[in-house]
Amino acid sequence: MGSIRFKNVDKVFGPSAGGVKVLDDINLEIAEKEFVAIVGPSGCGKTTCLRMVAGFEPPTSGEVSVNGKVVTAPGPDRAVVFQQFALFPWKSVRDNIDLGLRNKNLPKVERDERIAAALRLMNLESHADAFPHQLSGGMQQRVAIARAYVLDPEVLLMDEPFGALDAQTRVVMQEELVRLARVNPRTVLFITHAVEEAVYLADRVAIMTRRPGRIKEVLDIRKVREAENWDRMTRIEDVMDLESFVHLRTQIWKSLREEKGANSV
């Protein structure tokens, strides 16, 4: 449960003749419980890929499906964590997390249980009744992740989720996400332009060309990670020092550099 498939997907914005083609013949299969990151230059359409799985944009041609069913609308089975958090400022942390559960018509007892678990998981227990404006960026993003997790979604879609955070907070969040992913794995599609982040977090990394975006190559990180046992390191900087890590990172950089070309956006 929770497989994603892009089949011959094209995306054109604007009128069909003369519009902007952002995606060209995307073919990608993501197995259940696999963590896949997409990296690529600005404007290559990687966020659009995520939005199509989420159901916010339809493909112009081709098919985007989850569990074999074509995606037609957004829903809690494909939870989204946005770059700008998108928390509701008039609701407390607890109520923000609660909304998705209420929409599922779950009984109060179960909702309270799930919220308590999510708050524990994301270290938000002491802030349950605070409002978003009282929290730092990192905490707000934790709330957004908690809000997504509490739905127990098959698919987790993360659109540059740490892009709006400062460097130190970003590192902390990355370590936490890895911890979560090992403990509570599910299918994740993770969009980022930070190569190191992708290599650290993902099982596979798909590299996109510049616009119109195509999948240039897909690297299997997991094989290397398990062979070299990266998980023996608890700190991100130790992992990033490993030769195998550096090798993969450099490989991806080189590939992206080719995409920069003379006139990069």
Binding site: A54, G55, F56, A73, P74, G75, P76, R78, A79, V80, F82, Q84, F85, A86, L87, F88, P89, W90, K91, L99, G100, R102, N103, K104, F131, P132, H133, R147, L151
Partner: protein
């Protein structure tokens, strides 16, 4: 349009500077009152034009205790307040939902907008003769015109409020599987609330202006009626009393609205300025 004094607070200045500004303000008001005494006392401003402080006081006590134009001050004030409240409340109860709907549904906007565009340029006061033709000189005509005046800003601001909502917020709510009614009540309305309140302030202003005008044109009670009578009786002291009362009532209702706004928008720290 906020009070200029509120603008001052937002652009900094330490606590004792604010204190100093308060003193200067007080001094100005005191100075003006002193000037008023002097100008009337020396006859530089004839009392046929502008009442002296003494005349003002006499008129005030008269209407407050013995009454004028058919009632005491509180009765006239209550009458005006009553009409404003009714017109205002009906206007926002009809205007805000319409504005929210037009903001949310592009189809609804496309259908309703042309009619709105035609009606909108007609100033509310221009409806007064028609209202009197249709409903006579009683309360109904006034409420109709007040409703109309307060309706338009509410619709427009609710509409703008919805259109201004951050797209990710709506997408997040959709992603969470929020059904339509809950979407409106728990996401769209709160998100649009800051702009809605701006509209409410404008609506209240429009309501008062329209009420005073309507009562000036044709009424049998109310502050506007007092002003009208005072003008016909050539009674400047009472005219001033009427104007001051209008000001006070306007100020009081605006403050009440402000308090409601602060409570409703307690979460909106970002935009507080």
């Amino acid at each position: 349009m906020k009070a200029l004094s509120e603008n001052l607070k937002s652009v900094g200045g330490s606590a004792d500077m604010a204190g100093r500004r308060g003193w200067i303000g007080l001094g100005t008001v005191a100075g003006l009152i002193a000037l008023w005494f002097v100008l009337s006392g020396t006859g530089l401003v004839s009392s046929a034009r502008f009442p002296s402080p003494a005349e003002f006081w006499v008129s005030l006590t008269q209407i407050a205790t013995r009454g004028y134009a058919g009632g005491q001050l509180w009765q006239h004030a209550l009458q005006s307040l009553r009409l404003v409240a009714m017109g205002f409340l009906v206007a926002i109860a009809t205007g805000i939902p319409l504005g929210l709907w037009m903001g949310w549904s592009r189809r609804a906007e496309a259908v309703i907008n042309p009619v709105f565009l035609i009606i909108r340029p007609i100033p509310p006061l221009a409806w007064i003769p028609l209202a009197i033709l249709w409903l006579g000189l009683g309360d109904a005509a006034k409420i109709m015109v007040i409703w109309f005046a307060a309706f338009v800003p509410s619709v427009i601001n609710a509409f703008s409020g919805v259109r201004a909502i951050d797209r990710p917020m709506i997408e997040a709510a959709r992603m969470l599987g929020t059904p339509p009614l809950r979407m409106v009540v728990e996401v769209i309305a709160p998100a649009a609330m800051p702009m809605i309140f701006t509209g409410l302030r404008l609506s209240l202003q429009a309501a008062w202006t329209t009420l005073v005008a309507a009562e000036l044109v044709g009424a049998l009670a109310g502050i506007g009626f007092v002003l009208n009578m005072a003008q016909q009786d050539i009674y400047p002291g009472m005219i001033l009393v009427g104007m001051v009362t209008v000001g006070v009532l306007g100020w009081a209702t605006t403050r009440a609205l402000g308090a409601a706004e602060r409570r409703a928008l307690a979460w909106n720290v970002a935009a507080r300025d």
